[in-house]
Subunit: 295 residues, 2 copies
Amino acid sequence: MLKNLEELLKLAQGRKAAVALAGGEDIEALKALKEAEEAGIVSHVIVAGKKEKTEQNMKEVGVDYEFIPTDTDEETAEVAVKQVSSGKAQVLMKGLIKTSILLKAALNKEWGLRTGRLLSHVILAHSPHVDRVFFITDGGMVIKPTLEQKVQIIQNAVELAHKLGYEKPRVALIAAVEVVNPDMPETMEAAIIAKMADRGQIKGAIVDGPFGVDNAMSELAAKIKGVKGEVAGKADILVVPDIHSGNFLGKSFVYVGGGTIAGVVVGAKAPIVIVSRADTARSKLMSIALAIAAH
Amino acid sequence: MLKNLEELLKLAQGRKAAVALAGGEDIEALKALKEAEEAGIVSHVIVAGKKEKTEQNMKEVGVDYEFIPTDTDEETAEVAVKQVSSGKAQVLMKGLIKTSILLKAALNKEWGLRTGRLLSHVILAHSPHVDRVFFITDGGMVIKPTLEQKVQIIQNAVELAHKLGYEKPRVALIAAVEVVNPDMPETMEAAIIAKMADRGQIKGAIVDGPFGVDNAMSELAAKIKGVKGEVAGKADILVVPDIHSGNFLGKSFVYVGGGTIAGVVVGAKAPIVIVSRADTARSKLMSIALAIAAH
């Protein structure tokens, strides 16, 4: 169990790998990669992007990465993805390129990173107020998952947790309330998925729900509400109803709790790092560390 | 603008009022009211509930409130609501009684507290990490509001803010992203409602959206993302897409940020206090203070 995101950095240091950056026109991404190199988690960087701007950026940041110039965003995406599918890099990272263009290339049937599974987003979050790292999914990719998609989102997150050393992560499907309420489909879906896990339809994890976010995160809150079971108050992975609720919960670790978050897209053959301009430098570094640790 | 919830307590001390408690069988509610009396915000308490248990509870807590014994929960609700509609109390509080039974009585056409408006829930939230109090609505009552209901939710929250001294509260409709995305109806609704406010269809507030929760709460985040306007980074009221997202965001102030929240149901002739067992004593006191300050 990760106590904080620093431990993520240590895991990544033990699994140093190469990163392919799609879109070297993004100077912030180059800065983050430089910091990741200095932190000893990135062994090599291959950059795809428009020649002039990327070379200018690399000069400004003071790095001299392997560079493949491209003419269009589609070419940038293809080149970067192929670095990973060919094994030259182990992690794909989004630079200045539309997410949709990059993911389309990542899902290419011939040379992409397709596994047949859904791509989903996982946030790892910690704040000074909590005693462990929480996985939140999906607050960044699948807008409003169906029941089937939610199962895949869970499987992706469980696989990520395994790679980070969790033997049997505790997965909580959370909603506004911890009881099944027929007026809230999310609580019924949570109950259904919990039973699917009981019947062996989801493996490698202990899955339960519905929970309120309080009685999933806090043993005291679970005790007061009388919510029992192996996941109550001890959840590692919080599965949210939709992108809005997951996004708010993830960002709350930064904007309400003064903590840090890292994010990664999973479900492809390699982890995909997609950071946002508004992310802090620390958060960008931790997202790269998360992908490296999980490759 | 409230800097923290302590200021709420001060406002309530200046507007001391009487509370009608529905369900004196709830000893925790009696304890919270005793604390509120000691904090100088409650002038008088009238309790409705089953005779034996309520009298036993009052003895145990060490209070001797005006008491009207009842035989059924429906009668408890009716008696408590009538204390408020007759003007003997200014705030209604839920004790050991189903929320649905209490609200049905509150909406009774003859003797209830009906205004014709939607009832909605507002959370006031603060954590040590933030510089002001945030209003979050609706994370506790309306499960998935329609566009029309969302407008009423905003009007209710704006009216509450006015009562707490906000002349022109800044209202942010928040979603996972700050841009209009046709795949996210919540972002389109936010845009529509922002324009309705521009056209004078929502008064007494500055309303804008969509925002991400980060660029609604933090001026720095708004600046980095280039999100402009009078509400960006300065929101007082955060309007959420549904009950789950609002509930997570509200609870995050406690479980992620180590802060405090207060909650109140608005839209009736008087504020209605509905606290949860899992709320801390501080949170219960602050919810009573919020209702008193807003009566």
